[in-house]
């Protein structure tokens, strides 16, 4: 167990290192830099002296390894630097944006997990018309582009029916009801594909388990269908499904960029887009670091639950 923990920690550190270094290199390679961006934003033009001055101020005149080292040094002291444009601390900026993104991601995960797994089980048991329906729904769900679906939902539910707000985000602490209403359309947008994905995979995993010999033997021993399906078959089918939920969470990080853009939700995805457009290195690094941490933690959770569910892995 200790060995496993150490291995996980090591591979996580390697991943974080690779991602942050790559980000540094890519940002440095990008045409234009933050100094130009800031000067342009302030006055619309600049002299070479002003430009050099700004570069020195931002620390861009130092070599890349030195810049990275400074960033790492700050990180170890709990700071991720400041936003180059408004001087806000990156940690604070990300802290304020993590709530909206997390709300969308977790809500989508819960909805698609519950609905997807339920649909998957039912279609594995019934087959026939319902099975084909799940096929159609899952194909459709995967085929509809989420940015397009978001537009359609806004047009229908926000503009025509005015049932839900079209844009913006209300923190849970301010008004839980508004928070929930604001989440409905973004979560619906992301869930369409997610439900389809989870339902199809659950159905396949369930069908696989149900056709195994031990299920026949459980029935031969007189166990009820309820116990056979909901206790034994589901427990075994959960093993692959848990892995897929992890994959889904990671892919939802990408989904938030689109959804936050359309629904004007001040989340991490939006931040990532504006930061990369303006070469705001500390902010980009901050977002990349945070996303990678989410991936690493997700993998850990998946790994642990995989071990808990699968006694063969647990033993070794």
């Amino acid at each position: 167990m200790v060995r496993e923990a150490i291995r996980w920690l090591l591979s996580s550190l390697v991943l974080l290192f690779v991602v942050t270094v790559l980000t540094f290199v890519l940002v440095a390679m990008a045409p234009g830099d933050a100094a130009k961006a800031i000067l342009n934003a302030r006055s619309g033009g600049y002299t070479p002296q002003q430009y050099q001055e700004m570069r020195r101020m931002l620390g861009l005149d130092q070599s890349l390894p030195v810049q990275y080292w400074h960033w790492l040094d700050h990180l170890l002291h709990g700071s991720m630097g400041t936003d180059l444009f408004n001087g806000q601390s990156v940690t604070q900026a990300l802290g304020s944006r993590i709530g909206p993104s997390l709300s969308v991601i977790v809500a989508t995960l819960v909805v698609s997990g519950l609905v997807g797994v339920a649909l998957g089980i039912v279609s594995a048991l019934r087959g026939g018309v319902l099975g084909r329906l799940v096929d159609v729904v899952s194909l459709g769900g995967l085929a509809i582009p989420n940015f397009w679906l978001a537009l359609v939902l806004v047009e229908l539910f926000a503009v025509r029916l005015a049932a839900f707000p079209a844009t913006g985000y209300t923190p849970f602490g301010t008004d839980p009801v508004q928070w929930l209403r604001g989440l409905v359309l973004p979560v619906l947008t992301l869930s369409a594909g997610a439900v389809a994905f989870i339902a199809k995979q659950t159905r396949d995993a369930m069908s696989d388990v149900l056709s195994q010999e031990f299920v026949t033997m459980l029935r031969a021993r007189g166990l009820s269908t309820r116990s056979v399906v909901l206790k034994h078959a589901l427990r075994n089918a959960a093993i692959p499904v848990v892995t897929l939920l992890g994959l889904l969470l990671v892919s939802l990080l990408g989904g938030t960029v689109v959804v936050e853009d359309i629904f004007a939700i001040p989340g991490l995805g939006q931040q990532a887009m504006t930061a990369s457009a303006s070469h705001d290195l500390p902010m980009i690094e901050g977002v990349a670091f945070l996303f990678t941490v989410v991936v690493v933690v997700t993998n850990l959770v998946v790994d642990v639950s995989y071990r808990l569910l699968n006694p063969k892995v647990r033993a070794s």
């Binding site: 890519l26 459709g140 582009p145 056709s211 980009i284 991936v295």
Partner: protein
């Protein structure tokens, strides 16, 4: 380890009409949806390649007099806010998307297939290294990578899509690696290597063809996601912005900007995307079904609703069955009613060519406490017969005719309610593969306690104690430690003892043992046979033993039912059967037994093979392989005749057989 034909798949396999496998292309022709998808995608490629050559109007021509016109004769899909023809723009707009998808797919396939094959075939350190690398790439948050790449190469669709292919390639790598590994371990690859083929030849001849199906499936799914990714980036204005001409993504973006004025524009743009992604998904599904999905087949569904007794394909056999039911089974079982009485049992399985009868007119009795063996070779229907007694026929099989009476109740009713009540409580089942009969996720003790609680009103604590008692009853040396084990921690012999304990939990009157020792070593087999014998003495339960091993039959059973090609050919007390067989098949099979055959001479083999159920001969099923066969043998159904007390044989040459002995 003898393969027992129970499933219709196996039956089909030996059938003469088995299609040539491994040619998904031909199969594609029979799938209308898949074909339609492939056709659409091909058309799309042509349109994208042709550019403005095929467009009905100039996609860039403004017509400010007709902006946002909606569909009309002149503009099939309407016009946009500058009055440009949407249909033409969609045609031209397919180009950046398709080009981007092609770039992404190229990177995806080259990296995924090459690295996956190397990892899967080389194994060892190379494999671990590549797998680690793949995991690392997979863990990089994709959206961050794309944003970074687009920061370096602003508005560059190709760069973004190549990056997308790169970061997605580990998923293909994993699939290719798994398939390569599986094929590498196939016996036929081992045989090819032992034939002297070089590694490149093995890769080319055996591994690449097997990869084609899974790779096509993965590529079509990936292409679908690449379409979505490319258009999303274009929609967000990160790649292929409007200034670079129309693309599907920026057209949706345009539609969004005028959504409050005219929502119509969302329909053609979004529709185009949905249809394209759908086509890719359907193509993938079709190839999947043609290559891998077929093998999986339909799952066993625990909820089985009663079906009206259809008599279509079986009607032909009805007359034979009637004859078989009439002569039924032994009646000389004494005055006491038998515990189990099977009459005219006929079972059929669905197949592409209609329902195929695999067991016909089987009848036998089992008295209380008696052990009856059902013996026969692969494909004779013995396992199907045994499974039908507990109402658990695999793969859509059903009882088409006949009755199964257990202690006065009819178990063959189509709804299966009666048999469901008796399963586990009065009839137990143990199967051939002890390990795969146990739920891998639960400890032995908890599985056992659950079954105990199902059949007895006990508290949790009491049922746990009873579980330990049962484990002791099956002579496991350390019940407590076995109860704490998971199935994968048991040896084959221990697992079979656990399954016996599970079958005994409801204290059944009848135990159906389906090849209980076939998967075990001889010395372990002897222990399990001893256990079954002592359990019979202690519990007084009757046993139906299904076996192909005449030694096992001799060891445990009092009476035997010999089956051949779906029919009972002989039944008798075991001693009579071994010393005075009355059916040529029994006689020939005993002679072929290496235990009994004379050393130094040819083993007396039976020529030919057991016919599959779809090719049973008329009359006696054994007649084409029989040394005693005459013309009459093929003339019509052969009745089961009583030749001595409790001894029956389905042969019209019983007398000649007797004379020859």
């Amino acid at each position: 380890m003898t393969a027992i034909i129970t499933s219709p798949e196996t039956v089909q396999e030996t059938g003469p009409a088995a299609p040539a496998p491994g040619r998904p292309w031909r199969g594609l022709l029979r799938q209308p949806l898949g074909l339609l998808s492939a056709g659409y995608l091909l058309l799309l490629v042509v349109v994208a390649a042709a550019g403005t050559l095929l467009t009905p109007r100039d996609p860039e021509a403004d017509d400010l007099a007709h902006t946002l016109s909606g569909p009309s004769g002149a503009h099939w899909l309407g016009t946009d806010r500058l009055g440009r023809d949407v249909f033409s723009r969609l045609m031209v707009g397919s180009r950046p998307t398709l080009l981007g998808v092609a770039e992404a797919v190229l990177v995806f396939v080259v990296l995924g297939v090459a690295l996956g094959m190397v990892a899967g075939f080389a194994g060892g350190r190379t494999d671990r290294l590549i797998a680690r690398l793949g995991d690392l790439v997979l863990a990089v948050p994709g959206i961050i990578a794309l944003l970074m790449v687009l920061a370096v190469f602003p508005d560059n669709n190709a760069a973004a899509m190549i990056a997308f292919g790169l970061i997605s390639s580990p998923s293909l790598l994993r699939v290719v690696r798994a398939v390569t590994m599986a094929v590498r371990n196939e016996l036929y690859v081992k045989a090819a290597r032992l034939s002297g083929l070089s590694t490149p030849a093995i890769l080319r001849r055996h591994i690449l063809p097997r990869l084609a199906g899974p790779v096509i499936v993965q590529v079509s799914l990936f292409a679908a996601s690449a379409v979505l990714a490319e258009t999303a980036l274009s929609f967000l204005g990160l790649a292929t912005p409007e200034t670079q001409g129309p693309s599907w993504g920026n057209m949706v973006g345009e539609a969004a900007s005028v959504i409050s004025v005219d929502p119509w524009l969302l329909v053609p743009t979004g529709g185009m995307l949905v249809v394209t992604v759908l086509a890719l998904g359907l193509l993938g599904d079709t190839v999947h079904d043609l290559t891998v999905g077929r093998a999986r087949g339909s799952a066993v569904r625990p909820v089985r609703r009663p079906r009206p007794a259809v008599r279509t394909a079986v009607a032909v056999a009805a007359a034979d069955v009637a004859a078989a039911v009439a002569d039924g089974a032994p009646t000389e079982q004494g005055a006491a009613a038998p515990l189990l009485s099977v009459r005219g049992l006929t079972i059929a399985f669905p197949s592409p060519e209609g329902e195929v009868t695999v067991v016909r007119g089987v009848g036998f009795d089992v008295a209380r406490g008696e052990c009856v063996g059902i013996v026969g070779e692969s494909g004779c229907g013995k396992t199907v017969t045994a499974r039908s007694l507990v109402g658990l026929l695999p793969g859509g099989g059903r009882v088409v005719a006949g009755s199964v009476a257990f202690d006065g109740r009819d178990l063959a009713d189509p709804a299966g309610r009666e048999v469901a009540r008796l399963r586990g409580s009065r009839i137990g089942l143990i199967s051939q593969e002890p390990m795969s009969g146990l739920d891998p996720s639960f400890r032995v003790g908890s599985q056992l306690a659950e079954v105990v609680r199902r059949h007895h009103r006990l508290t949790r604590r009491q049922s746990r104690a009873r579980a330990l008692e049962l484990l002791a009853l099956v002579e496991l040396p350390d019940p407590a430690s076995v109860a704490r084990s998971h199935p994968h921690e048991l040896s084959g012999g221990m697992a079979q003892r656990v399954s016996i304990a599970l079958a005994l939990a409801g204290e059944p009157d009848l135990l159906i043992a389906d090849e209980p020792t076939t998967a075990l070593d001889v010395t372990v087999q002897a222990e399990i046979l001893n256990l079954l014998r002592s359990l019979r003495v202690r519990t007084g339960m009757a046993v139906v033993l299904v076996t192909h091993d005449w030694g096992v039959l001799a060891d445990l059973c009092e009476r035997a039912v010999v089956m051949y090609a779906g029919e009972v050919v002989e039944q008798a007390p075991v001693s009579d059967l071994y010393h005075a067989p009355r059916h040529p098949y029994t006689l020939a099979l005993l002679a072929a037994n290496p235990h009994l055959a004379a050393v130094g001479q040819e083993l007396p083999a039976i020529p030919g093979t057991v016919p599959p159920p779809s090719a049973w001969p008329a009359g006696c099923h054994f007649q084409p392989r029989c040394g005693y066969a005459t013309e009459e043998c093929g003339a019509g159904a052969i009745p089961l005749v009583t030749v001595a007390g409790g001894h029956q044989a389905r042969c019209i040459h019983v007398d000649r057989l007797e004379a020859a002995r």
